[in-house]
């Protein structure tokens, strides 16, 4: 069996005062690799051990300041450069609104990175088995004793000298701690890993089943699910399972009047003009004619378009053919379209189309006036 390697020599004390004086004497004696183990923090230990103030504070400061910077840069970039938005009339970069986020990020970066760096650099983790673990010494200093350990790594270490020195401190007992013969990693043992995996599986399954079957309660959804048929939904009540029923034959949508001659180029039959040429109707017809018809047909129906030759000009509305069209035929052309003229039924309503027909009749009569018409016009009072 190979010779055991010494980790260090420990000494146990009974009360806090003697550990303080032991720590003072140890630090004075010039050892550098040594430590004190106590069940709870003891006031004044830092001074007694002559420990210099920790450098960890600087880490916290730097990480905190970088949190501040990151937060401000992030909000400056997102809120005033990349996607500026006016919120409550405030400037794009409005510092008071950014302070809470800056504060939070400062705090979280300072604390989280302090803990991380403390573990990684100051504690020297991951160290999974310290030689002091599982020793009688460690059990005692976790309970009611106070201990000093001088490590063998110390340049001044000499087993007999250290033992004599520790004896001079009047301890309860002195122990030599050896490194374990073989480095063991209890956390990698199959048994431990198996227990870990089993625990994980049982806990996740248990949680899943408990929350999804045993304890499942439908959360209140503000009456969003109601026992009625809504559009597009399925219904078991009907044989074809369609919640929406087909309308009865001959059903017409409200406000819709069917036009029976749609698609016929030269209908044999047309509708009769239902509207009367009142002043209001003619004014409506004029307005709609100027809006929808005049771009191609010209302001007075002469076929002089404003299209500058982009399309073929339509023929004049004052030809004998056009004047001999019945009202229903003009209405049909507007509704159905003719040659390159499309249907205007979607832009111009039924009443408006009839009003335009009446207005076209007025234009036709005015453009082709005879003497009788002139006499008639003289007799009426024009305002």
């Amino acid at each position: 069996m190979a010779e055991k390697k010494i980790f260090g020599i420990t000494a146990l004390f009974k009360d806090p005062d003697s550990i303080i004086s032991a720590a003072k004497k140890t630090s004075l004696s010039g050892y550098t690799k040594w430590d004190v183990n106590t069940p709870y923090p003891i006031h004044g230990m830092d001074n007694a051990m002559n420990i210099k103030p920790s450098k960890l504070g600087f880490v916290t400061l730097i990480c905190g300041l970088s949190g501040t910077t990151i937060a401000l840069l992030l909000m400056w970039w997102t809120m005033s450069v990349d996607y500026p938005m006016v919120i409550g009339g405030k400037p794009f970069f409005s510092l008071p609104a950014f302070i809470p986020v800056t504060f939070e990020l400062t705090v979280i970066l300072a604390t989280a990175s302090t803990v991380a760096i403390m573990f990684a650099f100051f504690f020297g983790l991951p160290e999974n088995s310290h030689p002091l673990h599982d020793t009688d010494y460690m059990k005692k200093v976790s309970r009611d004793h106070y201990g000093v350990v001088i490590e063998a790594d110390d340049p001044k270490f000499n087993e007999t000298v250290v033992k004599d020195f520790l004896k001079s401190l009047n301890p309860v007992s002195i122990d030599v701690i050896y490194y374990p013969e073989k480095e063991t990693y209890p956390i990698f043992e199959p048994k431990f890993l198996g227990v870990l995996a089993a625990t994980a599986i049982i806990v996740s399954l248990g949680t899943y089943l408990t929350l999804n079957s045993l304890m499942y309660i439908e959360p209140f959804n503000w009456m969003m699910n109601q026992d009625k048929i809504i559009p597009q939904s399925k219904s078991e009540y009907f044989a074809d399972e369609r919640g929406m029923r087909m309308p009865v034959e001959g059903t017409v949508a409200r406000g819709f009047i069917p036009y029976p001659y749609l698609g016929e180029l030269i209908p044999t039959e047309v509708l009769l003009n239902p509207s009367i040429s009142t002043k209001a109707i003619l004014e409506l017809g004029e307005r709609k004619f100027l809006t929808y018809c005049s771009p191609c047909h010209g302001d007075f129906g002469d076929g002089d378009s404003r299209l500058r030759g982009q399309f073929q000009n339509p023929p004049t509305l004052h030809s004998d053919r056009a004047r001999n069209f019945s009202d229903g035929m003009i209405y049909h052309i507007m509704t159905n379209g003719q040659n390159i003229m499309p249907s205007y039924s979607s832009q111009v309503s039924r009443e408006e189309r009839w009003a335009i027909v009446n207005y076209i009749r007025v234009l036709q009569r005015a453009k082709n006036a005879n003497e009788h018409d002139v006499e008639f016009a003289k007799n009426i009072n024009i305002e």
Partner: protein, 396 residues
């Protein structure tokens, strides 16, 4: 561990402190009276600042005493007498308040009946903001504080001779009653004296804001006195820098608390931007008051925060002495910023007047005289307190 010597030899403070205090007070009094004659409005507003500062020191100290008892603090026991001496300001408030009550019409817009009539907001507040009820509140509150002060101090003093532990228990019970009373009364005080000079404005956090400044001021006064007395050897030798560290830590905490509260108040009003609230901050942004507003952040938060951030800074007596004086000034500046822009003659911007310097001189004089008077009568160490030995042994 070295045994702590608990025998206490009383050491008198030198009489030159009294002379200096009398001198400062005399200067303050003479110039104060001249100020009241030459420029009554400005003098009253300055006097209000001084009076609020005295409330801060006295009431804040009483709060610190109660805090020590209720949390069972040990480290502060050896310096509790210093806090008690500062708390002795409280009974004097009843005298100090009188010049303000005679000049209420200069100070409070709501005290003019013709101004209240026809003003819907002020009419609504009239059941609370009226002269008789105001005066009743002022004296009832000073009475309650004085009563608590009297009981706290009597028990503490009695303990010096009887060494009766039950007196500590009695004071703990007293603290439990005092702290809620303190919370309500300091809110009322802040509303009455500092918020009602602009009676149209309201802020629910204002009492807490004044409280945070109050604790900073009293802690700074206690720290300054402790460091000065310690340097000149009047304190027990076992009172070390570790005790100072606790004072420094508390100051640091309350600087942050003040900044938190002040910013909370500002941000909500700034964000909502309702005219009924935001005009108060706009008033403090008028003309060169904007410079004062920016300076307030730097003086009251940035500088002391940076100065006290590091661990060694909180236990360095020189640093603490400097920062204590700084914080006392900062609290004065805070009150100045709260009060002065509301004065009609300064609403457009600040212009210097010698009157602004007079009353702070008087404050220092009054505080020195009260401290000296109490120090002459009482021990600087609560020698009968059962926690004293542990308090002296305190180490970080």
């Amino acid at each position: 561990m070295t045994e702590i010597n608990l025998t206490y030899n009383k050491k008198e403070l030198p009489t030159r402190y009294t002379r200096l205090g009398v001198l400062l007070l005399a200067i303050g009094l003479v110039f104060g009276i001249v100020a009241f004659i030459t420029d009554q409005n400005r003098a009253v507003f300055n006097y209000l600042i001084a009076y609020s500062f005295m409330i801060s020191i006295g009431l804040g100290s009483l709060f610190l005493i109660a805090l020590e008892y209720i949390v069972g603090a040990v480290w502060s026991v050896p310096i509790r007498r210093i806090v008690e001496f500062f708390a002795a300001t409280i009974p004097f408030l009843a005298i100090l308040v009188i010049p303000l009550l005679f000049n209420m019409h200069e100070l409070f817009h709501w005290s003019h009946e013709e101004a209240v009539a026809g003003d819907e907001i002020l009419e609504g507040k009239a059941p609370y903001l009226n002269v008789p009820f105001f005066i009743i509140r002022v004296f009832v509150l000073i009475g309650i504080w004085s009563l608590f002060y009297f009981f706290f101090i009597r028990n503490s003093k009695k303990q010096d001779t009887t060494k009766d532990q039950n007196l500590t228990k009695l004071n703990i019970k007293l603290s439990a009653v005092f702290i809620p009373v303190f919370a309500i009364s300091i809110t009322i005080t802040a509303i009455d004296w500092l918020m009602s000079i602009e009676p149209h404005w309201f802020s629910t956090i204002f009492g807490v804001y004044f409280f945070s400044g109050t604790v900073i001021a009293s802690l700074a006064a206690v720290t300054l006195a402790t460091v000065l007395l310690k340097e000149n050897g009047y304190l027990h030798p076992s009172i070390t820098n570790d005790h100072l560290y606790s004072l420094g830590g508390l100051m640091f905490a309350f600087i942050n608390f003040w900044a938190y509260i002040a910013f909370s108040q500002f941000m909500l009003i700034w964000y909502a931007d309702l005219p009924e609230e935001s005009f108060w901050f706009l008033q403090k942004w008028n003309g060169n008051w904007a410079v004062f507003s920016i300076l307030l952040i730097i003086i009251h938060f940035v500088v002391p925060y940076a100065a006290l951030l590091a661990h060694p800074a909180k236990k360095n007596p020189k640093r603490l002495k400097f920062i204590a004086v700084w914080l006392l000034f900062a609290h004065l500046f805070d009150l100045f910023w709260l009060v002065m822009p509301e004065s009609n003659q300064l609403s457009e911007g600040y212009s210097f007047s010698w009157i602004d310097l007079v009353f702070p001189i008087a404050i220092v004089g009054v505080l020195m005289l009260i401290f000296k008077m109490k120090a002459k009568k009482e021990n600087l160490l609560p020698i009968g307190d059962p926690k004293l030995k542990r308090g002296l042994e305190f180490h970080l």
